[in-house]
């Protein structure tokens, strides 16, 4: 049965979507990612859609769902590599990707993940340093 491979890069999961995402494949991907996040303790998920020349509302929903599930599991999702023609079409379609952050490429996506982790840990430092009564 077809599966989309999920790679591990330190504590980030990397998925590259190369084929048309139909129902079964999308569901399996969602399941696989959720399982792998828990199994590896990953804090970030990067979905590379560079190879997708079409993103319709189904694919959009799938990406949004993945982002939501990941967030519940304390991992952040970043979608990278959206093609200009796809972006222009999505704007025309009026489709938004709620809860999905985007970056131009994997490198920028990783930097984004690192930066938000930094902010998070600093916020944690500040909280720790504050006195209990405030």
């Amino acid at each position: 049965m077809d599966r989309i491979p999920v790679l591990t890069l330190a504590d980030v999961l990397l998925v590259s979507i190369q084929v048309d995402l139909e129902d079964q494949l999308a569901l399996r991907l969602q399941d696989d990612l959720a399982e792998r996040i828990v199994a590896t303790g990953a804090r970030g998920v990067i979905i590379d859609i560079t190879a997708l020349d079409i993103v319709d509302s189904f694919v959009g929903r799938t990406l949004a769902t993945i982002a939501s599930v990941s967030k519940v599991l304390d991992a952040e999702t970043i979608v990278v590599g959206m093609r200009p023609a796809v972006a222009i079409t999505l704007v025309e379609l009026g489709l938004q990707l709620p809860g999905v952050r985007t970056a131009l490429n994997i490198e920028l996506g990783l930097a984004m993940l690192a930066a938000s982790r930094f902010v998070e840990s600093r916020a944690g430092d500040v909280a720790d340093a504050a006195p209990a009564s405030s």
């Binding site: 048309d20 139909e22 129902d23 079964q24 020349d53 079409i54 993103v55 319709d56 509302s57 189904f58 959009g60 929903r61 200009p84 023609a85 796809v86 222009i88 079409t89 025309e92 379609l93 009026g94 489709l95």
Partner: protein, 145 residues
Amino acid sequence: MTTPVANTSASIGAVEVQEIAGDDDVVRVRQLVRAQAVAATRLSLVDQTKLVTAASELARNTLLHGGGGRAEVQIVTNGRRKGVRIVFTDSGPGIPDLDLAFTDGYTTKGGLGLGLSGARRLMDEFDLQTAPGQGTTVTAVKWER
């Protein structure tokens, strides 16, 4: 509600048909539409993307809301430019409330349900024929610029 499909367009080339009964048919519709656009028209990449995306939305609608049906793809011309006409028919329950159907976010199947209004925005001409209990036919055309 709809932009009537101009009767001044003439068809050239054969009508390519794709039955829609399952998900992989939605993929086939996409591939069929793209193949026709690339082979027979000078649609730009962005316009091709819009066309194929609209076809994908409409095909999915036919499958999920119409219980399956068929897609027809044909090259058309208005004398000066060429275009791609896509027609989706199903014999499902029909759409009882058109206003609601075209509102962004309308859905009876869950999810974002942007099928119709989104597809209309992507295409140059768009026509919808439907009646409760009598199925639905969507016709849309994308023209070269």
